[in-house]
């Protein structure tokens, strides 16, 4: 037998590589693969993710619930310092989730639309364009849940005064996914509506009032002495999250859950609608 120079190996055919799938099946496979990609990126970037997630809540709790009581600076009005530490736990969890929505969904998306155009390739994955956007929301929600879990021990153990937790599991386990989803959707809505140029405005004009007037530091009910403010901040979705977590984690005063759940669901629907419309507008001509 004679030997010849090895020929270029025949590349595998499509049938050998990709099983034939209906568009619907292909879309769900692509959705999960995109999610996997985001988790791999999270794993690769954990050294950035952890400090970015922990630092703000840590400083917040440290200054308000550790330093202030130590130096005798009163916070929390009539509820007292211990009441304040307890009220702050819920606020810090809410804050961590909403920041994930902005940091892991909105900001990368602003960059992708503005400079890198990486999103254009993901939009060509075999799935509807809106599913690409919903994947981003899902990933943001997962990251939000991870950060809530990371932040929780800080809120519990850093304060100098005792934190009285009274966990209502049913509320916690239903409200957390809803809030995480809402914040992922908020990230999508912001990410598709802002440009790199206007990001400083996003922080200065939207995130700042959102967090300062989001019932992170005080229960909503305690605002009854400033009724106009109490009504005004009802447009802030963070209010419902923090109040919901107050209901889930403490025995302290909180807004009625009859208001919290519908508001969180309503804001989710609003952000998804605004976000999907924005996403389609940005990727399709």
């Amino acid at each position: 037998m004679t030997t010849t120079a090895p020929a270029r190996a025949t590349p595998p055919t499509r049938a050998e590589l990709v099983p034939a799938r209906s568009p619907r099946a292909a879309a769900s496979v692509a959705f999960l693969a995109l999610l996997l990609r985001d988790l791999v990126v999270l794993r690769k970037n954990w050294k950035e993710f952890i400090p970015r997630t922990l630092l703000q809540p840590l400083l917040l709790v440290f200054v308000f619930a550790y330093v202030f009581p130590k130096i005798g600076q009163g916070v929390g009005g009539g509820a007292g310092a211990a009441g304040f530490s307890t009220a702050l736990v819920a606020g810090v969890v809410g804050l961590a989730i909403i920041f994930q929505g902005i940091q892991s969904v909105a900001l990368p998306m602003v960059q992708e639309f503005g400079y890198t155009r990486e999103i254009e390739d993901r939009v060509l994955a075999p799935m509807p364009v809106s599913l690409v956007a919903l994947e981003k929301v899902t990933a943001g929600a997962l990251f939000g849940a991870v950060s809530a879990i990371l932040v929780f021990p800080i809120a519990k153990f850093v304060p100098a005064t005792p934190v009285h937790l009274d966990i209502h599991w049913l509320v916690l386990l239903t409200l957390t996914p809803l809030c995480c989803f809402m914040c992922g959707a908020l990230g999508l809505a912001f990410g598709t509506r802002f440009e790199p140029r206007t990001v400083p405005m996003l922080f200065g004009i939207i995130v700042l009032p959102l967090t300062m007037l989001g019932c992170i530091y005080y229960p909503w009910q305690s605002l009854h002495t400033v009724p106009w403010l109490q009504k005004l901040i009802l447009v802030n979705p963070l209010v419902y999250m923090c109040e919901g977590f107050r209901a889930a984690l403490t025995a302290g005063p909180h807004m009625s859950l009859w208001a919290v759940y519908p508001a969180v669901i309503g804001f989710s629907a609003l952000f998804i609608a605004v976000g999907l419309a924005g996403f389609r507008k940005r990727v399709l001509a």
């Binding site: 590349p11 595998p12 055919t13 499509r14 590589l17 990709v18 099983p19 799938r21 568009p23 292909a26 879309a27 496979v29 692509a30 693969a33 995109l34 996997l36 990609r37 791999v40 990126v41 690769k44 970037n45 890198t116 155009r117 990486e118 999103i119 254009e120 390739d121 993901r122 939009v123 060509l124 994955a125 075999p126 799935m127 509807p128 364009v129 990727v283 399709l284 001509a285």
Partner: protein
């Protein structure tokens, strides 16, 4: 042969009544390299955008591999591969992962995606860069990686939008070789370009597009023959080009067409022998001093100029 791309009266009107593509009819056969040739703003990218589901047509139909791209975008996306004009590699992932996840998006198993990513990295001579961040790649390497990514799921049609724009000459030739190899393996390729040499060398067939309309569609050699001329003579002279054109029209009878344009006069002719001295004689007899004179054999550029009256290079 099977038709794998078909457009029927495909139209895209952007807000403000901007007709980017106007009633375009195209047919591309399986295994062809088909070029959309035209100047910037001719509607090439919009056409490619519509065929790849990214731009929604305002009229007409477009089919890839028999799939209506507007009615079934997900199905269409399963059968196309796209190399866009800009670098859209995933900057959060390294070179290998860019291919691996592309495979996963298209439904490959982890094992298959891994094996195929490595095979493509070898084929595209990127194996030693597998674990490098994509931002560390040169322009040519990034382009090769984008081509590898686009063909990884074995699309029925590979789309490339201005694939060599901004590449250095060496990388451009390397890319032409890659496309040639893919073509030999039977890959159908549609590319948009405003480089005539690229269109001439690479493409089996071409569509010349301007202002969103199809001006001509054929093989490069048939297009060159179709205008019935062998050469184009360009005369540069001081003075009124209208008057010079008039003089040349009267004096150089073998020219089939004489036209003034942008400070020069162009003559088209089927017979080139002896024409240059005659052009100088006629021009000087009419009182013009010829400062530059050139004759070029018919190229796609000549075809384009003959079709549109303007230069492709702008």
């Amino acid at each position: 042969m099977d038709v794998v791309i078909r457009t029927e009266q495909l139209t895209k009107v952007y807000p403000g009544d901007i007709r980017a593509v106007d009633q375009l009819d195209l047919e591309v056969e399986a295994g062809e390299i088909f070029g959309l040739l035209g100047p910037n703003g001719a509607g090439k990218t919009t056409t490619a955008g519509m065929l790849t589901t990214r731009v929604i047509p305002t009229g007409g139909k477009a089919y890839v591999d028999g799939v209506d791209v507007v009615a079934h975008p997900t199905r269409a996306k399963q059968v196309i591969g796209v190399v866009p004009q800009t670098n859209t590699l995933d900057r959060s992932l390294d070179v290998f992962e860019n291919l691996y996840f592309h495979g996963r998006f298209f439904g490959m198993t982890a094992r298959t995606a891994k094996a195929e990513a490595h095979r493509l990295l070898d084929q595209f001579r990127l194996a030693d860069r597998a674990r490098v961040p994509v931002l560390a790649l040169s322009g040519g390497m990034a382009q090769r990686l984008m081509v590898a990514r686009a063909i990884m799921h074995r699309p029925a049609i590979l789309f490339l939008d201005e694939p060599t724009a901004g590449l250095d000459p060496q990388s451009r030739i390397a890319l032409w070789e890659i496309l040639g190899e893919l073509h030999r393996d039977g890959q159908t390729i549609l590319l948009t370009t405003h480089y005539m040499e690229e269109a001439d060398q690479l493409c089996d067939r071409l569509a010349i597009i301007d202002h969103g309309t199809l001006l001509a569609s054929d093989t490069p050699s048939a297009l060159k023959q179709s205008i019935g001329i062998d050469a184009m003579v360009t005369v540069t002279a001081e003075g009124d080009t209208e008057l010079l054109a008039e003089a040349l029209r009267a004096g150089v009878t073998e020219a089939s067409k004489v036209e003034p344009a942008d400070g020069v006069v162009r003559l088209w002719t089927a017979r080139t022998e002896g024409i240059l001295p005659r052009v100088i004689d006629v021009a000087e007899a009419a009182g013009f001093t010829v400062t530059d004179l050139s004759a070029t054999a018919t190229t796609l550029e000549t075809v384009f100029i003959a079709l549109t009256g303007k230069d492709l290079r702008e």
